[in-house]
Symmetry: C2
Subunit: 225 residues, 2 copies
């Protein structure tokens, strides 16, 4: 089991988040990759008040960061590549296959996630805003456009580039889980099945369990779970 | 001059775009990187109606793609890495410096660009929507939050990691140019100066000139420039 208090690799994660964010915070991406690669890691949990110097590690005050004595980096995409470089199971060595995998990590966080995320936020943190409801048709359009394009690309393939799971799939599955949580995959069965294939991987299951464990242990007094 | 009809590297770009998009279409990122690296390239221009099979090359129907006989990839971030791998001037070999550079490309397109882009769209393609004006305070908040975090990180440094320009800066400058075009850098002088330093590079100037040239040559009849 990769969680190991003496591990060289340290990642940051949040000690507690509300129910709606559980399973979606981005440390899950890195935990999943580390489990796939079989690399031991330890976790530095951060409370709601970040340490004063945390922005030296992460300018956007977010998680995850990864440090291991060789690198000190943030952004889940860069971290997945760094882990992938240590595990051909996650990032192929062949140049075409390698850059196709890398390309899909950017596609997930840049060409899909923003459109899905803003649409989902209209039903969540933006829900009380007067403009949220009238904005939905526009944001629906963009979210469904991009999800439809991923669905058309995937077709009946198992993973984005065929039979082989890579960091590109890992990233895309975590982005599509946001869409699924927001009910946006209802008419995209091949994407829903693709997410299920990702979630069925033992490495994902272990990562999710460890991701969720700290939230139960750090439930603030007087705050609803 | 890297534009060369016989070059092995081919990128895709748009034959024509309206005034508001000029200088911001993402082929500029790749042209700039190729100029910095001194790599010859040719351009495959696409009209408003894409070839029927273009989504086999680019599932989101966008530009740029890059092909060179070794790889066939899309997403400007992946392409910058591929070019960077052929030019230490753009992507350091030292592991910490390399992954810091890569990290900033993800930060630019994932942690900054979506917030800037949606705010700018409220004054552009969304401007006629009834919800656009009331949504501005919320989107202003997020855009300024992220721009402020980049500004705080940059401080008085020349580039994001100090004295050395990398693909991380190239990507961040192109994202901040969107913010600048939308008037969002008015109270962030260090970011405006950072953008100016990027734009002053001879490689950027050559890339921008070639990026703009096709628009003048392909002006549709009866459409305002």
């Amino acid at each position: 089991m990769p969680l190991n208090a003496d591990a060289e690799i340290e990642i940051t994660a949040l000690a507690w988040v509300p129910e709606g964010a559980r399973g979606l915070v981005k440390d899950l991406r890195v935990r999943w990759a580390l489990e796939e690669a079989g690399l031991d890691y330890r976790v530095r949990l951060l409370g709601g008040d970040r340490p004063a110097n945390y922005r030296k590690d992460q300018p956007f005050d977010q998680v995850p960061c990864l440090s291991d004595g060789t690198v000190q980096i943030f952004e889940s995409g860069a971290i997945l590549q760094y882990i992938g470089k240590q595990s051909e199971a996650l990032l192929p060595i062949d140049r075409q296959a390698k850059y196709r995998s890398i390309q899909w990590t950017y596609a997930a966080v840049s060409s899909v996630e923003p459109f899905v995320q803003f649409r989902v936020l209209l039903d969540a943190v933006f829900a009380d805003q007067e403009w949220a409801s009238p904005a939905k048709p526009t944001f629906d359009h963009y979210a469904q456009l991009r999800l439809g394009q991923v669905s058309a690309w995937l077709g009946d393939k198992r993973w984005l580039e065929g039979d082989r799971f890579t960091i590109g799939d890992l990233m895309m599955v975590t982005v599509l889980r946001i869409a699924g949580r927001g009910g946006l995959l209802a008419d995209k069965p091949n994407l829903a099945d693709y997410v299920s294939r990702g979630e069925a991987r033992p490495a994902f299951q272990r990562a999710l369990e460890d991701h969720l464990e700290s939230f139960a242990q750090n439930q603030p007094e007087g705050v609803a779970a």
